[in-house]
């Protein structure tokens, strides 16, 4: 699994909206983010980069370098 853990989620849904592969959903009972379809993750990091409280932790061994326009 690419996402190692989600700690301290505030249920804002930013990761759900930013994920291009529909991997993450908000759990209706807790209101917090859960990995619904782990096999669909393409390790793009968008969920991690757009989480306002930095709750998403990715496995370093499955991490691709983040490509930014400035280098």
């Amino acid at each position: 699994m690419t996402i190692k853990s989600i700690h301290g989620c505030i249920g804002c849904g930013e990761c759900v909206q930013s994920c291009p592969c529909d991997v993450i959903r908000l759990d209706p009972s807790s209101g917090k983010a859960v990995i619904a379809y782990p096999e669909d993750c393409q390790i793009c990091h968008l969920c991690r980069l757009y989480c306002p409280v930095d709750a998403i932790e990715m496995s370093p061994e499955k991490t691709l370098p983040v490509i930014t326009p400035w280098g």
Binding site: S5, C9, E14, P52, E57
Partner: protein, 221 residues
């Protein structure tokens, strides 16, 4: 055996700095960048030291005897102002690392965080922040408030204790709901400190008739 200053200071450092740091290190969460982990440590130490304030509030006679009341009061004041400053900055410190990373902008992250009203943890956090601000302001302006509302210093202290106990309860709840490191270990440890501190405070402010009789030691009739 009488507790000496060194022994008391060592016990306090162990309880309010050493143990929280150990439990932070043992928390089952992945470590992050140096900046993020340093900010987490700063916040955890601020909470631990703020909980330690209960034990500097005339609740332990041995501490008052060993360090003398004016010195204990000064320590209480400066630890309080320091820890409160860190905790008032807590929402901003959470988004600070975003300045150095790609992705969401710090201000956007802050706005999203502060407007996630559907989450209990966020609402608790907002309530704690306001209570903490009130605690800081009423502490700083205590002499003016006492004069303005014509209350006794003891009544102000009771109000201060009530505010501190209320803040502590909500803050622990918030930390257990959302804290990355406040699992069973650190959360349980903080809860124990809070219960012990609030119990000591309650004992101090109980009406006279509920208090235990003074010890006969030193009375020569």
């Amino acid at each position: 055996m009488k507790p000496t200053r060194t022994r008391l200071a060592f016990a306090a450092a162990l309880l309010f700095i050493g143990l929280p740091l150990l439990l932070f290190a043992r928390a089952p969460v992945p470590s992050r960048t140096l900046l993020k982990d340093s900010l987490s440590i700063l916040t955890i130490l601020a909470v631990a030291l703020l909980l330690g304030q209960f034990f500097l509030a005339r609740t332990i006679p041995a501490v008052q005897r060993a360090f003398k009341p004016p010195r204990v009061q000064a320590l209480h004041r400066w630890i309080g102002y320091g820890a409160i400053t860190v905790l008032l900055l807590h929402p901003f410190l959470i988004v600070l690392p975003r300045y150095f990373e790609p992705g969401v902008r710090p201000l956007d992250a802050l706005v999203t965080m502060l407007t996630s009203f559907d989450t209990l943890g966020v609402l608790l956090g907002l309530a704690c922040w306001l209570l903490l601000l009130l605690l800081a302001l009423t502490s700083h302006l205590r002499m003016r408030l006492i004069k303005r509302f014509r209350i006794s210093y003891r009544a102000w202290r009771g109000f201060h204790a009530l505010l501190a106990a209320g803040f502590t309860g909500l803050a622990l709840w918030h930390a257990i709901e959302l804290g990355r490191h406040t699992g069973w270990l650190l959360g349980g440890f903080f809860a124990l400190l809070a219960i012990a501190g609030i119990a000591l405070l309650a004992r101090l402010y109980l009406p006279e008739r509920h208090r235990p009789a003074p010890q006969a030691e030193g009375l020569h009739i």
